[in-house]
Point group: C2
Chain length 408, copies 2
């Protein structure tokens, strides 16, 4: 089964990793700019000191995007990025021309502080939609962040981008090659709304590999397609999702695309898995593995149909192996999207085949959902050799509570 | 705005209507067959005494269907139906050849009791998936139901098909024409899972109009497309949804298709609105009206994107007019599906325009969500003249509780 998130945490030092400062050639900081009412850190800066300043980024596919996304798409288009500035405490979405100016001025202020071009500064914002950021706090915060830059401050940066996250997310891997070793590290935030509509997910990945922007772009797109894109359950993305990959070249090692892509994949997988583990109010992390599909797209469509179901997710919260709700969701996928014989479908939960050939099989009481946070559901379509896994969470009282009280 | 559910209850005597026995030429019953552990009524029978026995039905589009749907699709294919037998206490889905035999034997038993052909008896079942019905209880129950048939027992039938419904749903209208009056009445169940994946929704509509099966089919499809199909929020249907329309011809009145269709629409709209009002654990009924779309399909796609959002639905539960969550969902609809300028979108909640041209407008504190059960959200795309409304519910603690405990 193709599941990069299952074994994702191994060897990536989740939580204790320096994250964006694991790779050589980067400094970072995390400070309190006064954007959050709580007084918690809310502004992070990541700087690429080179010698190379190659970059790639992927952005939300949502048609409603915030000013930072509009700005940053333009910044990364030439493959050169000197710094990434990120704030929590406000998404800067639906804020009009003044909001765009806030993003622009933030990049200008970073540029002035670092002696780089504003056109090489990516801006990311996360928080409520429809409220202006306090401009003076933001710009003063940039000065503070620039002054606090340090080559070991990745953890502070990871903490400053948290919104409803309960823990910072960091990871890194070091890869030995015949020419020497290189490192890929990163940080992410986005606990709140992974299921069913991923709200703002921000991620910065850095590497000291010596590679061009087009190689970074290929490695990043390959990684996000099977990591962050497999933790949202209905393909929806927020107005602000941004994943950036920066290369400093400081290791002097120039890995092949395959070698780099594998390392980027491992870091992204670890970060994505950490997001699932910290989803707001969840009591279970749920992996839906679809096997025996005619294509990976077909497998994905079926997996997403299952993870989209509130009924299924509420049943998991109740530790109820309600495979009928799985089967009913599998049946909603059109035949043109996923050809299979409905009468042939098997469903297993945590290793117990509760449904074989679309009929009751093992006793549902044989399934133990209560004793572990991870739940694994396997749907075998018996139609081909392709597979895909989507991770989600259960639907809990706490999810409803936290998301009904978010803006108040 | 095209919203048949808003004014749906007017003139249809919801709750107090005799439902399927409002029209002449029908008898019904509701009895306790012992299918439910609770001992509540669980078997209903509706009989068309003619002189005509015309019928039409629409079924779930789910590829996983129960034995009753397989059986009943065949029954209605010739446009002749003598009776509908419905049970709660078990969906008879994923029950294999023995489950199909249960459905077949149920129809045979009805046929024997009434002196009609088993091939003219529709069977509907609702309840848990993957468990066999107790066959002897079922068949003995059919005999009880046949013995209890009465021309005024529509309310008992409506009560016997309830699962997690808190109240029976009935409605009827009588239409005066130059040739005399005719009546359309009906009953429905399906409180549990309207949002986001409508689980078993069963509905029987009867009329004493004197019309052919092909006219019934046209009237029924037109009605369900803008009523029951507009209360589920992501287009998913359960394994068992069945809506049947029977005509006895007992009034001797032969209305035109338009006149009949309007009456069927009013009854279906009332029943659909009653389903929304009784959705499990909901504290708000939420109408999302999309106007200014280039086509009705575009408007529908945008409305469904909004009503599918757990974040939006949890915010409504918290009486929080979080229009950012509306806007973010609107933005997930691909341009190919719904062309519009994201920067032009307005959002109003309960009459207050909180977002104009994708930017904050009125103060969100001006919106009162707390004082009424109904919430109206209007999304104006400013792209055309088409509109559509989808009804849903908020996402509450009680929804999670009831659906995490359903099978236990």
């Amino acid at each position: 089964m193709t599941d990069h998130l299952g074994p994702a945490l191994a060897g990536t030092s989740p939580g204790t990793s320096p994250g964006v400062t694991a790779a050589a050639g980067f400094r970072a900081s995390g400070v309190t700019a006064g954007l959050k009412a709580s007084g918690s850190p809310d502004l992070a800066l990541v700087v690429n000191d080179g010698p190379r300043q190659a970059a790639a980024a992927v952005f939300t596919t949502n048609r409603m995007v915030g000013a930072p996304v509009v700005w940053s798409r333009q910044v990364v288009s030439d493959g050169v990025v000197s710094a990434v500035v990120l704030n929590s405490g406000g998404a800067n979405v639906s804020t009009g021309p003044e909001g765009f100016l806030d993003a622009h001025l933030t990049a200008e202020r970073v540029a002035t502080a670092l002696g780089v071009s504003a056109g090489d500064v990516i801006v990311c914002s996360t928080g409520l939609i429809g409220e202006r950021l306090p401009r003076e706090n933001l710009l003063t915060g940039v000065d503070l962040a620039a002054a606090a830059l340090a080559p070991d401050a990745g953890p502070q940066a990871a903490r400053a981008i948290m919104t409803t996250d309960s823990v910072p997310k960091t990871a890194h891997v070091t890869v030995d090659t015949p020419d020497g070793s290189f490192t890929v590290g990163g940080m992410a935030k986005g606990a709140g709304m992974l299921a069913p509509a991923m709200a703002t997910m921000l991620c910065v990945v850095t590497t000291d590999a010596d590679v061009e922007a087009r190689v970074l772009d290929a490695a990043l797109r390959a990684a996000t397609a099977v990591t962050f894109d497999r933790v949202d359950s209905d393909g929806c993305m927020s107005t602000s999702d941004t994943v950036t990959l920066l290369a400093s070249g400081a290791s002097g090692v120039a890995p092949s695309l395959d070698v780099l892509a594998d390392a980027v994949l491992r870091v992204c997988a670890s970060l994505a898995r950490q997001l699932v583990a910290d989803a707001e109010g969840a009591s279970h992390d749920v992996a839906v593995h679809v096997v025996g599909a005619t294509s990976q797209d077909a497998a994905l469509a079926v997996a997403r149909a299952v993870t989209r179901s509130n009924l299924f997710k509420a049943a998991i919260f109740g530790n109820d192996p309600n495979w009928g709700r799985v089967l009913a969701q599998v049946g909603t996928v059109p035949e043109a999207v996923a050809p299979f014989d409905p009468e042939a479908v098997d469903v297993s939960m945590n290793g117990v085949m509760v449904c074989q050939a679309a009929r009751v099989h093992a006793d549902r009481s044989d399934v133990d959902l209560a004793s572990a946070r991870e739940v694994h559901v396997v749907v075998d379509l018996h139609a081909g050799d392709a597979s895909a896994t989507v991770w989600s969470n259960d639907l809990t009282h706490d999810y409803v509570h936290e998301n009904s009280a978010y803006s108040t």
